[in-house]
Amino acid sequence: MRKMLLAALSRVLQGPAATAAAAGRTASRVMVASRNYTDFANEATFEIKKCDLHRLEEGPSTTAVLTREEGLHYYKTMQTIRRMELKSDQLYKQKIIRGFCHLYDGQEACCVGLEVAIKPTDHVITAYRVHGFAYARGVPVRTILAELTGRKGGCAKGKGGSMHMYTKNFYGGNGIVGAQVPLGAGIALACKYFGKNEVCLTLYGDGAANQGQIFETYNMAALWKLPCVFICENNRYGMGTSVERAAASTDYYKRGDFIPGLRVDGMDVLSVREATKFATEYCRAGKGPILMELQTYRYHGHSMSDPGISYRTREEIQEVRSKSDPITLLKDRMINNNLASIEELKEIDVGSSTDISACCPQAAPQAPLGLVAHLGAL
């Protein structure tokens, strides 16, 4: 017993050198090592992957500082999105969500990393894989689920559905592949016109990257120096077509040609954050548009109608889950650097699941909505 206690104490005193698993076992078995907030580090510095650069002398910093508060916030946000998407999967299979449903699990580090690097007064527009962005931009889970299930309490009062969610400074939610890119440049034009030093993050996927209108937009954005951050979320597959089969050049960060670009590890929320800070600073300095490629991965198929295994192997999906999951990556970093405890994070896990279940609307239908309301602005 004494030997065990001594071993436990020494492990605790060693601090971040302990592995996550060991710390967990130690913390749960030995009461003497119970944690309180003063035991945690305030912040830690992490090495992040260097970005590939196109027409840029320097890139984002290769280190990132993460405070405990930030870490917990990023973790909670990503986990909430993960659980919300998994809940949507369930609801879809129960036929309570209908039509198209494109899930974001696996890509959480992208929308969270972007959001924490910009201001609420900046603008975001994306395509149809939108639930994570809607949440990150401030739409509550309850409102998202209500929209998915076609209820009045939804963010578009049930008239939009999965692909058309909007909130302040968030313009959806666009179903036509690539159409959101010129829209985003237009929002950036308004930013420049009003002169309030705001930028617009304009997102599209690896599939959309081959759309002609995107190249028209690159041209005008560069010509007019619009404060537009073009962001390609490359999740390796445009529906069922892998990037190699769709693009003559898969260096999406270079496709802007005269627009400088950077390729970022989209599975690491800190990499995304640092890159976005770098990119938005570039735009705010009036240098014109910039392009970021976020290398990421989606666990689900293209949509709920796609099992997602006819064009990729289960092994590949499993490998990404085990080696590159964005939530696990953050969790390990925080545990190993004494920024949080396993119990704490588990509490967040359980809490978010409970909250989301509580948001689930009853299966009973609500009163019908006005069909012609909102047909035109007044």
Binding site: P182, C191, A373, A377
Partner: protein, 349 residues
């Protein structure tokens, strides 16, 4: 005496000009743009050649000199791109006027007009509005052949979420453009190239900076008792010419200038049909699924049906891509004689 007569004549002319000033459609549109740009700094114009070239058809003459690069923007030849940019700017609080050199080129951008502009207010349950005007020449010109002569009235008017206006006179052009710019909805304004140089009388009221023609209201250009002619854009002029010829033969036509295609002022047409008991629609576009078809269907569905003494007749462009040779082209668009023929057919005379 001769001198004082000359002076009187000049003064009289000046007075007449003020009272019955004639303004070309081009100048009326130019005035409307100028006034709205001045009134609201969120308004801006973009399109091909609108700035330094003064506009492909000189509609925006002088505006770039007056307002500069920020408000009058020359775009590259990228319809889908710049239309999307204009729509995005509207979503973010600006009030763009997006010019298509002709509406034929709007087909390249039609996804942005319909899916991004028209539907967004509804899809967002009113939280995002798109106060944009798409304008440019529509329909047949002279000798520009098939790809440059299509009428898009039916295409755009088909879509809920859009307003579609089609001016004929200078007053229509100025008033409707001002109303469209002030409207918080996406508006498609279908002008006509052949009308740009045509002078019309403009009342003093129409010359004021706050003159707007309400969207959704038709205008009775000529009162009549025996047959209702419903038209929009250039064919309104042909209807009036046909009415003048028919008047000599004792047939009094009521000519309705729709002004707005969507939302259509069906009540004005119904009231007229109730009075005249006969209906002829006249349009430049192709016959199938067109404006005339919609008018006829709605009249059938409403109270005016019981007042029709004969089936309604449509006068339309010929159901072919527009040919080049003048004699062929002339026979592909509604002429005065076609309108007269249609009236006589429905009146059985």
């Amino acid at each position: 005496i001769a001198e004082s007569l000359e002076l009187t004549k000049t003064k009289l002319e000046q007075a007449m000009t003020l009272l019955h000033k004639t303004v070309t459609v081009r100048d009326a549109l130019n005035q409307a743009l100028d006034e709205e740009l001045e009134r609201d700094e969120r308004v801006f114009l973009l399109g091909e050649e609108v700035a330094q070239y003064d506009g492909a058809y000189k509609i925006s003459r002088g505006l770039w000199k007056k307002y500069g690069d920020k408000r009058i923007i020359d775009t590259p030849i990228s319809e889908m791109g710049f239309t999307g940019i204009a729509v995005g700017a509207a979503m973010a609080g600006l009030r763009p006027v997006c010019e298509f050199m002709t509406f034929n080129f709007s087909m390249q951008a039609i996804d942005q007009v319909i899916n991004s502009a028209a539907k967004t207010c509804y899809m967002s349950a009113g939280s995002i509005s798109v106060p944009i005007v798409f304008r440019g020449p529509n329909g047949a010109s002279a000798g520009v052949a098939a790809q440059h002569s299509q009428c898009f009235a039916a295409w755009y008017a088909h879509c809920p979420g859009l307003k579609v206006v089609s001016p004929w006179s200078s007053e229509d052009a100025k008033g409707l453009l001002k109303a469209s710019i002030r409207d918080d909805n996406p508006v498609v304004m279908l002008e006509n190239e052949l009308l740009y140089g045509v002078p019309f009388e403009m009342s003093e009221e129409a010359q004021s900076k706050d003159f707007v023609v309400p969207i959704g209201k038709a205008k009775i250009e000529r009162q009549g008792t025996q047959v209702t002619l419903v038209s929009h854009s250039r064919p309104v002029g042909h209807c009036l010419e046909a009415a003048a010829v028919l008047a000599k033969e004792g047939v009094e036509c009521e000519v309705i200038n729709l002004r707005t295609i969507r939302p259509m002022d069906i009540e004005a047409i119904e009231a007229s049909v109730v009075k005249t008991n006969h209906l002829v629609t006249v349009e430049g576009g192709w016959p199938q699924f067109g404006v005339g078809a919609e008018v006829c269907a709605r009249i059938m569905e409403g109270p005016a049906f019981n007042y029709l003494d004969a089936p309604a007749v449509r006068v339309t462009g010929a159901d072919v891509p527009m040919p080049y040779a003048k004699i062929l082209e002339d026979n592909c668009i509604p002429q005065v004689k076609d309108i007269i023929f249609a009236v006589k057919k429905t009146l059985n005379i």
